[in-house]
């Protein structure tokens, strides 16, 4: 059936408008980060800075140990990602290729945690981190976020799409689980693992709620926390500096997304829930 041309064009207009609403703020942020604060107030509509300046970035570097803050963010995101991908992979492998008592119940319990609101675990986790002496430290931020079942879910889905006969051939060749994992399963779920990994990294990079509770001194801040310093409840006294921090906060997630978008969209569209 041919789609009516007017219908098609109307939808293109709607999609374009949505894309602009969603993407324009990002471009606007980049422009504003190079604009002096006065210009920003006087010419809010100028996306391209009239008097380009690095002053906002300099202010940021002057007021905070930016390298340290970026490193904190990076360390938290990397450690959490590596750990979560590893444990999720092992758990998914167990759920897909082993039969053991209580398997269904255990899977159900773990996946259910996706739907548990974080306030339910908030106070006890704060107390645990505090008792471990990890308040105001990178590890205090990392540990509680390791309990995230979305990776187990996505990697399990991806593994289930591997034909079981591939594993059976391997078993006929007398391969142990180590070899099967490394030589067969891992290469076949690599796209899923890459996307899940990137998703973990970015979620952790952008994490705000938990670091707010745990991190106290500016030296230990992550980028989203640093960003919050430059605004007041009245709305943006130091707006252009905040935009400079925003740009620094966004760079890595954006680069990762633009590099791996085919992979990521592929994983979410093929191994997601059906």
């Amino acid at each position: 059936m041919k789609i009516n041309r007017t219908v098609e064009i109307t939808w293109h207009v709607i999609f374009m408008a949505t894309v602009i609403v969603l993407v324009f703020p990002i471009i606007y942020a980049v422009g504003m980060s190079f604009t002096p604060l006065e210009d920003a107030y006087n010419n809010v509509l100028n996306i391209i800075p009239l008097h380009p300046t690095l002053e906002n970035y300099i202010t940021f570097f002057d007021t905070l140990p930016v390298v340290k803050v970026t490193m904190n963010t990076f360390i938290i995101a990397s450690v959490a990602t590596v750990f979560k991908v590893l444990t999720s992979f092992l758990a998914a492998y167990a759920f897909v290729y082993f039969q053991f008592k209580g398997k269904e119940v255990l899977y159900f319990l773990l996946i259910s945690t996706i739907f548990i609101p974080f306030t339910v675990t908030m106070i006890p986790n704060y107390l645990i981190v505090s008792d471990l002496g990890l308040l105001d430290s990178v590890w205090g931020v990392i540990l509680p976020q390791l309990a995230d079942a979305i990776g187990i879910f996505l990697i399990t889905q991806s593994m289930r799409s591997i034909p079981i006969s591939l594993i059976e051939v391997a078993r006929l060749d007398n391969l142990g689980h180590g070899r099967i994992m490394k030589d067969i399963v891992l290469p076949l779920v690599r796209p899923a693992i890459t996307s899940v990994g990137i998703w973990f990294f970015i979620s952790s990079w952008n994490e705000f709620v938990w670091p707010v509770l745990i991190l106290k001194t500016t030296e230990n801040y992550t980028l989203p926390l640093a960003l919050q310093m430059y605004i007041s409840s009245e709305g943006g006294t130091n707006f252009t500096v905040a935009m400079a921090v925003s740009v620094i906060t966004m760079i890595i997630p954006l680069l990762l997304y633009l590099t791996f978008q085919k992979y990521i969209i592929g994983t979410f569209t093929s191994s997601g829930i059906k």
Partner: protein, 304 residues
């Protein structure tokens, strides 16, 4: 030794099973320590009066529940939460459903570009989004207010007015959530056999009928998943703009169950009330969870 043998027997602990459990040990430990035990401890805390600092917790039975459920503020927050859920569902469940259908069936060009562009904000910090939109939507000096001014429209002072504040904070949250839900729904619709859609088109079935009578039922599993994910996770995402922009104000008008539990625990240090609110939230979510596993999970997880 015999005890060990008994354990082995009940668990069918042969070598094969033992490796299975072994692979799960890291996950089990992490979830036990940081999810399951905290959950139980929160239940426990909901029966105590405590300020998180004093060494003594006072057992008060169900008094926390009485107080929380007797407080008119709680009902204001229930109302706010409900309003958030309705708005978030409309923007992040209904609209992406239609978008996913349109991009899969109607549009032939630029599909890849749309998918990438719509998904992009999902990768950016919501703190960035909150600050940006607060500026852009500033009712006096923001760029949108100026553009609106040209055509004689005004932006309400949303940070200060009830109702509006919830709408705008939901919009800011949707900026991040929309694309993720869109991609999930697109995946599901794209997975529907082309033959079914093509045969409907050969019969000259109008698009809206295809949507309601073919696409919706055939993607309902993902549909329900996204529905619940929107309620549960978006409500948590809203926390960020609330914290950054309004801190729950004006006068609790933008607070919801999640933010209020946080506020009770870490601003006014009433852990009992906070725990009670969390348990009530959890109970509401459990109902959703039950629905999910009843309707969605069937035949999806246990296909082996």
């Amino acid at each position: 030794m015999s005890a060990l043998a008994a354990v082995r027997k009940t668990l069918h602990l042969n070598r094969e099973n033992a490796i299975g459990y072994g692979l799960l040990i890291p996950s089990i430990i992490i979830f036990a320590v940081f999810t399951f035990w905290p959950f139980l401890y929160t239940v426990y805390l909901s029966f105590f009066d405590w300020n998180m600092i004093s060494p003594e917790k006072e057992f008060v039975g169900i008094r926390n529940y009485m107080e929380v459920l007797g407080d008119p503020r709680t009902y204001q927050i229930f109302g706010n939460t409900f309003l958030y859920i309705v708005i978030l569902l409309a923007i992040n469940c209904v609209v992406p459903y239609i978008f996913a259908f349109v991009i899969d069936i109607v549009l032939k060009r630029w599909n890849g570009f749309y998918k990438s562009a719509l998904f992009l904000p999902a990768f950016i910090s919501l703190v960035v989004g909150s600050i940006l939109f607060t500026w852009i939507l500033n009712p006096v000096s923001g760029p949108l207010a100026i553009v609106f001014g040209w055509i004689g429209l005004e932006i309400p002072n949303w940070t200060k007015s009830e109702g509006w504040v919830i709408l705008v904070l939901s919009l800011i949250t949707s900026w991040k959530v929309f694309g993720y839900n869109f991609i999930l729904l697109y995946a599901s619709i794209n997975g529907i056999s082309r033959e079914i859609i093509e045969s409907a088109r050969l019969d000259n079935v109008p698009l809206w009928r295809i949507f309601f009578q073919i696409i919706l039922p055939m993607s309902s599993a993902t549909g329900i998943y996204v529905f619940i994910l929107t309620i549960v996770q978006s409500l948590q995402y809203v926390f960020t703009p609330v914290k950054v922009v309004t801190q729950g104000g004006p006068d609790y008008a933008s607070s919801n169950l999640i933010y209020h539990a946080y506020h009770e625990a870490f601003v006014v240090y009433r852990t009992g009330h906070s725990a009670t609110l969390s348990i009530i939230t959890m109970a509401l979510f459990l109902i959703l969870l039950f629905l999910y596993f009843k309707f969605v999970d069937r035949g999806i997880y246990y296909e082996n």
